[in-house]
Amino acid sequence: MMDLNYITEDLIKSVGQFLPETALIITFLVAMMADILFKRSKHLTGYIAMAGLVIAGFLLYHQTGVNFKGFANMLVIDAFGQFMKYIVLLSSLIIIIFSFYSDELHAAHSRLGEYYTLIIGMTFGMMLLVGSSNLIMIYLAIETMSISSYILAGYTKEVKRASEASLKYVIFGAVSSGIMVYGISIMFGLTGSLNLFDINQYLASHQVDHLPLLISGLLIVAGFGYKISAVPFHFWTPDVYEGAPITITAYLSVASKAAGFAVMLRFFKTTFFGADQLLDGTWHLLGSINWHYVVAALAILTMTLGNLVALWQSNMKRMLAYSSIAHAGYLLMAVSVMNDGGVSAVLIYFFFYMLMNLGAFFVVQLVSNKLHTEDIEAYSGLGYRSPLIGVALTIFLISLTGLPPTAGFIGKLYVFTSVIDAGYYWLAVVGVLNSVVSLYYYVKVIRNMYLRDIESKEDKLVFSPSAIVIVFVLAVPTLIFGMYFTPIVEWANFSMNIFIGN
């Protein structure tokens, strides 16, 4: 049969381009076997996982400049995906390193093997998600990463909060993906295909009813919205972030958000915008639904709620959870303009967001190792008790606020520039007002660290030198990229073209 031969050929060709993901699968299996065979060694699977991530990174590097559709058009390899995959891999690697320093994880070290293995599983899911161009593939990838993350969120299962977090996460996640798959089924019925390219062609050539398309689109966006914790799909975020181990909280706030934004951008671009690439980077919208406004509405809701509620938090992890919601709002602003400039801004922002957010969470983890609390009050005098850590946390928080001379400022600058370039001045105004609000709760922590008069000032906190080095490996780039950011901007501009199959 001719047809089957063609499929086989396509498969063989695709497998050749599937190498980074394959490397992760193999790592996953090897790590699992190693975990059974060498039960004694504490970090062996961690090292295997790191090696696997590095190898996957190298293989990913070899895909530079490749534009490819494979597995019956289910997966796409392009520069945009490559950028996001780098972020996913890099943050996974950093998280594994963080995990070596985590006391709460080591309380249950007999199961650490599973932990690292599941991180690899989650990474694999995210890599798939970033490249998915088929709705079922998107669903499959979301589930792959989610299932791993449900377990990881409740990894310290003896802790009540952790098990509660994982219950809330699994129910919320399953419902969201259920809603999404229902939306997918409607989309399938409307357009007759699950493939984004085919859907795009159908939308370009046929008139589709407004309401069903809106329903299915919104239901699918609900699935993405849950991943990136956009309001009103964010409710799980604070509870899960607070309950989960800090490493996993950090991981969820960066990598899974990156994958969510990547698939969201790819979904919008590939599905709802004309396949004719315009040279000036603007996209041409198909159909009657103005997705710009839908996403802009989500953006406003998300950043406003995130920032306003963050004002009241007294737990550092919970505060950072709301802050990550707010950051999702800023990123959604850039998504809402839906042109190449916006994509580039998202990429730039994400790279910097990865550095500063992971850094902040690592400091929280280190402090929690010593003080056994995540209360913001406990940070009083930290600037004197451990000057280096205090300085680093200050850098991260200033960067999260988006003040110069830090990388966060540059990220925000590009986001706002893209929004203003697209003519959405009102959106930019809301964004700036939100940034002002966010200043308050970030600076509150800094004030606690330096300006609060406390007795324990002289009571020094001693951190291991390697941990401090890791903190500064994140803090120094946060500063340097605040001053010299051209390479990242160029890289993002190189990566902003989402491959749409022509």
Binding site: H210, L214, V309, L311
Partner: protein, 730 residues
């Protein structure tokens, strides 16, 4: 080595001292004495790399003007900031000067500073300083130059005030910093004028812009002003009159610091800056530069004659020599000015290190005798050190000869060329410009005089105190840097003949850059000889002109190197060659006379110093009190500022307040009413916004009930609301 390798290596050279800084600042407490060894060895490695880079540049690529790279730093739509770094011939030579002296100072300090309890911090600061200085050296644009310029300012502030427990030290640090800031203000203004006009910070692009005929604000006056602004920065760093007052005070810093910063590197930064941007100075700007340099050279030489503090003499001598360099650049003697910078760096560093050696020995002797009151730096407490410290004496004597400009030394080669340049300049311009060579020669004579006064009083004769007789020669760690630096002051390193510096490699490699300034605003004798009239056409080429011009230069530079064919770059060089022998004769005569005078007064006491002092009472006091500059500033600038502020305060208190009070009475009635408005309406509005934000936040968080099912209801409701809203509106 390829260009890329050179560039890579130079960035490593730049960053290596930073590594030393980081190590010592973060782990200094744990390292203790090892920090010195670490710092020294890091600088040693740095020096070796600098040699590699410098030799590659000077031997393999001598004719390429600058090996450089540039990259976009900031790109915000139309605003682009391009920066970069590069190595040209003078940068290559400076790399060696900075790293070698820094290395020797590091080495010297392992012994000199060994008793200090902030030993690691000292090395950290030294590393930071070396880093910033190297940054200045390899910058090829104004922006980076300015940034490192400020960094140098900060690190020197830290080093001068290193013994901040001493009030005088911390004051000196402040004085240095503030004085430098005044100069930097000018520097910054100059940079801004240029950036506004040419839209770039890169040296070569600015020069190309100037030579294409574009003028700031369409007026050559502003180009002159930009040049003078930048030169103001150089005046601050290089301690030029009238901003020279900080340098003698900066002697409060540890002596190795004085050797590194206030003799060889940082103060040379100003000269280096002027050399780097030499192409952009107009004739008027150059005249200003020459005048400032001359005054500096003369004034500080007169002050140095009467000082009794060992280091202060050297400090004023440094100021004077820097004046020479600036003067030389100002009259158009680019090569000579830079040559003097290099040779001066070696022997002045040696002089300071020797001073350090003496002071160290005096300290030890005092410590030994439990004497804590005698001033170990006063030369009247010394004497006879020749016998107790023979190696220090020998090196000191040799570099003193070099500084005085005695033949067979490097100082002779450079100072002779420099003075010939001033003669040529005066001859070409005429009129009152003859003052420049006259004052130059006078200063040169005084240099020889005060240096020998210092040598004789401190080293010769009988010990004037018991302390001096109990001094001992220092360890070899202290002597090795001295010897190395004095050897480098021998003539044959620079020229095959001991009497003519222009035959050496320095003159071949350090080629005066073609002036970018259009011919109308430049001295005609500084324009290329054969193309004197044709140059405007050449300038019209615009972009890429600089490269073309330098290439052309090298064609001309080749014959100039072989002095047999009398083809000179420009009229000035030809003229200075003519004046070479006259200058040599004059300077040897003057220096010899001055040295003889010094011996007669202080060694053989043929002329009584005291009587001379009494006879020239007025001049002596004037010189001893440093021309009353500090008092002058105290009385004018500082007192003026204070008086002004007092006056303003008085004005405030009586006039303004009176008026205010008056109107206050009138408005009180209104304000009572408006106050009510303010309190209840305006403040209310502000508070309302803040409280509303908080209130809304507080309400919103109530949504987070903790019940997963409630969350899901909210999700569904949210979805329905979105659906409803967008199905209706769009």
């Amino acid at each position: 080595m390829t260009h890329d390798a050179v560039l890579l290596l130079s960035i490593i050279i730049l960053l290596t001292p930073l590594l030393s800084f980081l190590i010592n600042v973060f782990f200094g407490g744990k390292l203790g004495k090892i920090s010195g060894i670490i710092g020294t060895s890091i600088l040693g490695i740095d020096f070796v790399m600098a040699i590699v880079v410098a030799f590659t540049k000077l031997v393999t690529y001598p004719d390429i003007h600058t090996i450089q790279t540039r990259f976009e730093w900031i790109s915000l739509g139309p605003i682009k900031v391009v920066i970069g770094y590069g190595i040209d011939n003078i940068a290559a030579m400076m790399l060696i000067v900075v790293t070698l002296i820094s290395f020797l100072v590091h080495l010297f300090s392992t012994e000199y500073m060994s008793d200090d309890r902030r030993y690691p911090k000292f090395y950290a600061y030294l590393g930071l300083f070396t880093f910033s200085m190297l940054g200045i050296v390899i910058a090829n644009n104004f922006l980076l130059m300015y940034m490192f310029w400020e960094l140098v300012g900060i690190s020197s502030y830290l080093l001068i005030g290193f013994w901040y427990e001493k009030n005088s030290a911390s004051n000196a640090g402040k004085k240095a910093f503030i004085t430098n800031r005044i100069g930097d203000l000018g520097f910054f203004t100059g940079i801004m004028i240029l950036y506004m006009t040419y839209g770039t910070f890169m040296f070569d692009e600015v020069f190309a812009g100037i030579s294409s005929g574009v003028m700031p604000f369409n007026s050559p006056t502003f180009l002159t002003l930009a040049g003078i602004g930048i030169f103001l920065g150089a005046m601050g760093k290089s301690a030029q009159w009238p901003l020279h007052v900080w340098l003698p005070d900066a002697m409060e810093g540890p002596t190795p610091v004085s050797a590194l910063i206030h003799a060889a590197t940082m103060v040379a930064a100003g000269v280096y800056l002027v050399a780097k941007v030499f192409a952009m100075f107009t004739a008027d700007a150059l005249t200003f530069i020459a005048a400032i340099g001359t005054i500096t050279a003369f004034v500080s030489a007169t002050i140095a004659i009467t000082q009794v503090d060992f280091k202060k003499v050297l400090a004023y001598s440094t100021v004077s020599q820097l004046g020479f360099m600036i003067m030389s650049l100002g009259v158009g003697g680019y090569t000579n000015g830079f040559f003097h910078l290099v040779t001066h760096a070696w022997f002045k560093a040696a002089l300071f290190l020797a001073a350090g050696s003496v002071i160290h020995a005096m300290h030890h002797a005092m410590h030994h005798m439990h004497d804590h009151h005698t001033d170990p730096q006063d030369i009247n407490n010394m004497g006879g050190l020749r016998k107790t410290m023979p190696w220090t004496y020998r090196t000191f004597l040799f570099v003193t000869l070099a500084l005085s400009g005695v033949p067979l030394t490097s100082g002779f080669l450079s100072k002779d060329g420099l003075l010939a340049g001033t003669l040529a300049y005066a001859n070409l311009t005429g009129g009152w410009h003859w003052i420049i060579p006259v004052m130059g020669f006078a200063a040169a004579g005084m240099t020889a005089f005060y240096m020998f006064r210092l040598t004789i009083v401190a080293f010769h004769g009988e010990p004037k105190t018991k302390i001096a007789s109990h001094t001992h020669e220092n360890k070899s760690v202290i002597l090795i840097p001295l010897i190395v630096l004095s050897v480098l002051s021998l003539w044959f390193f620079y020229s095959p003949t001991p009497i003519d510096g222009s035959k050496g490699w320095v003159h071949r490699l350090v080629v005066q850059p073609a002036s970018a300034v259009p011919a109308a605003y430049q001295w005609s004798f500084l324009l290329p000889e054969h193309a004197g009239e044709a140059s405007p056409a050449m300038h019209a080429e615009g972009e890429g002109h600089e490269a073309a011009a330098t290439e052309e230069l090298h064609h001309e530079a080749q014959p100039a190197a072989h002095a047999t064919t009398h083809a000179y770059l420009n009229k000035f060089q030809e003229e200075s060659h003519h004046f070479h022998y006259i200058a040599m004769f004059l300077s040897v005569l003057i220096a010899g006379g001055a040295i003889g005078l010094a011996f007669m007064i202080y060694q053989y006491k043929v002329i009584s110093a005291d009587k001379l002092e009494a006879r020239l009472k007025f001049l002596h006091t004037f010189s001893l009190n440093k021309w009353y500059f500090d008092e002058l500033y105290q009385a004018t600038v500082i007192a003026g500022t204070v008086a002004l502020s007092k006056m303003l305060s008085w004005f405030d208190t009586y006039i303004v307040d009176g008026l205010v009070n008056l109107s206050a009475y009138i408005t009180r009635g209104f304000s009572f009413i408006t106050g009510l408005f303010d309190n209840h309406v305006i403040d209310g509005a502000v508070n309302l916004i803040a409280n509303t934000t908080g209130f809304v936040g507080a309400r919103l968080r109530k949504v987070q009930t903790g019940h997963i099912q409630t969350y899901l209801v909210f999700v569904l409701v949210g979805l329905l609301v979105l659906l409803y809203y967008f199905s209706i509106n769009f």
